[in-house]
């Protein structure tokens, strides 16, 4: 098989995967324009859910709050996580394996249990509930993901590059800033995207720790299922995805984090 055919096949495969990843997103968006409250087919076009949404200040406030919390979580978790990853990768020291293994409990133990544990503990130490507690919980849940992803990127790092820079007289701060950081930037960005996703979809911690009346979008969705949520949820989700997509494509247009080549 010629390389050209393989490349073409590869691109088709990528397209198929993207289609698979977006299929439910498309259905979600599609249903936000469907008249039926119970997601019934056949499809009947309607803008009623967007009209309802415009008058639903609760959902809009919750969505805004979720985005803000996710942004703060992303910034903190990415900074702390990257620092920890560099230490875990760069140095050999006693207890390193244990520190790495400790990243798994938050991922392996279902959020419900971790969330309940946080609830009891935060009350026990008098931290109570409120947005700061929610952010503390979100950052903690996002950290392991950031560390695992950034470390995976660091594992591909060629240490001789640093050596070379140092032998040319660069001090360690310069080495970090000019050599190490650019190299792991794609990893940091991936970690940040994960952190945002973890926070933005996290409901257990927010559910237990947010103040009544100050809930986040996932909490609103999860508590709505008993009675049933309406396609208004699809409408707000569609708006959020569209905005994120626009922001990301603009970011991709003006940056070069994908690598050097």
């Amino acid at each position: 098989m010629s390389t050209l055919i393989l490349k073409r096949l590869g691109k088709i495969w990528l397209a198929l995967i993207l289609f698979f990843l977006y299929a439910p997103i498309l259905v979600m968006a599609f249903m936000s324009f469907n008249d039926s409250q119970y997601y019934q087919l056949p499809f009947e076009f309607s803008l009623r859910w967007y009209q309802d949404l415009a008058g639903n200040s609760e959902i809009i406030a919750a969505a805004t709050r979720s985005v803000l919390i996710a942004l703060i979580t992303t910034i903190i978790a990415t900074t702390l996580g990257t620092a920890a990853s560099v230490a875990l990768f760069r140095f050999e020291f006693k207890g390193k394996r244990i520190l790495q293994v400790l990243l798994f409990p938050p991922i392996a133990i279902p959020w419900l249990i971790t969330g309940t544990a946080m609830l009891i503990f935060f009350f026990g130490i008098g931290l109570g509930r409120g947005t700061p507690s929610v952010i503390i919980g979100h950052v903690a849940l996002a950290l392991p993901y950031v560390i695992v992803v950034v470390t995976a990127r660091l594992a591909t790092f060629d240490a001789t590059l640093e050596e070379a820079a140092r032998s040319l007289g660069a001090n360690s701060w310069t080495v970090t800033r000019r050599v190490t950081l650019p190299w792991i930037t794609p990893g940091i960005i991936a970690g940040a995207l994960f952190a945002f996703a973890v926070s933005f979809d996290q409901f257990v911690v927010s559910y237990f720790l947010s103040e009544p009346g100050d809930s986040t979008l996932p909490v609103l969705i999860y508590t709505a299922i008993r009675k049933g949520f309406t396609p208004e949820i699809n409408a707000i989700s569609t708006i959020i995805i569209t905005i994120s997509m626009a922001v990301m494509l603009i970011a991709a247009r003006f940056s070069n984090f994908g690598g050097e080549r």
Partner: protein, 287 residues
């Protein structure tokens, strides 16, 4: 040279690690220790409840066959989802890292993770609309194909696997991409110029060098899938009972946190044992 640097290094390690691990300690490790303590109690020590120390909660796992059966079922599900994700995600990451050039690569990289930013419950319900009989998939295929097909994947194990693979595929694509993208093209060119075939290059250069990323992705998929309960419950219907659902019940249906906590820590222990058993094999493959 290392002797002089040791102290400085130690400080640096401490400075880099302590913020993250301090945060984790306060928000996760200490709360989970409280849960671990609960798992050895007969009752949750609220108010004036009477309680005593016991290992009954751990013994229950061995005395009630249901738990072991479901844990095994969950592990199989975890392996199936991980394997599927790796098999379909790796080629995708490869194309993204090595075939696509320029700015469109950055855009595609971002597009892969974007579905993650939608609410998981909304995503699962959307899959339900796609998969059910007379749903989107059924209608679309019957509109395209010349013959009649009756597709109803809803409430089956394939539906659970589809939903979970969809949720976790971006992990492996991204971690594999990050590793693949770091492989120097000149290395591949050099191998090729020395007469190495495509298979040889894949087996001897690309796979070993991208293994750290692939493994990180696999672990990030396997670990949470074993404890998942939402996707199985909604997409699996009658066959959707897994270990995670049983743990959830101890908190939601009855007030038995000690048993729920014990079952969770057994899950954690089993997952860690599996990872530990797998690591020598994987490390060998890496060299």
């Amino acid at each position: 040279m290392s002797n002089m640097l040791v102290k400085q290094d130690r400080l640096r390690i401490f400075g880099l690690l302590s913020p993250a691990y301090l945060w984790l300690t306060v928000a996760i490790f200490l709360p989970l220790s409280a849960m671990f303590y609960f798992s050895f109690l007969s009752e949750v020590p609220f108010g004036d409840a009477e309680w005593n120390f016991t290992t009954d909660n751990y013994r229950a796992f061995f005395e009630t066959p249901t738990y072991a059966i479901l844990l095994w079922k969950s592990i199989k599900l975890g392996l199936m989802v991980t394997l599927t994700s790796v098999l379909i995600g790796f080629p995708c990451a490869y194309v993204l890292a090595k075939t696509i050039q320029g700015r469109s690569r950055e855009a595609l990289f971002l597009l892969v993770i974007l579905p993650f930013w939608s609410n998981s419950l909304v995503r699962i319900f959307s899959w339900a609309i796609v998969l059910r009989g007379n749903g989107v998939l059924d209608r679309t295929l019957n509109a395209i194909l010349p013959f009649e097909l009756d597709i109803n994947l809803m409430f089956s194990t394939p539906a659970i696997v589809i939903g979970l693979v969809h949720s976790y595929l971006p992990y492996v694509i991204l971690t594999a991409y990050l590793a693949l993208q770091a492989i120097d093209d000149s290395l591949i060119d050099a191998a090729r110029s020395m007469g190495a075939g495509k298979i040889t290059i894949l087996r001897r250069i690309i796979l070993p060098l991208s293994l750290p990323g692939l493994l990180a992705g696999a672990v990030l998929i396997f670990v949470p899938v074993v404890g998942s309960f939402m996707e199985p419950r909604i997409l699996g219907g009658r066959v959707g009972t897994y270990y995670g659902t049983v743990i959830e019940d101890q908190f939601v249906a009855v007030f038995n946190w000690p048993l729920g906590a014990a079952l969770s820590f057994i899950l954690l222990a089993v997952v860690l044992v599996i990872l530990a058993l797998a690591s020598p094999i994987l490390r060998k493959a890496q060299t």
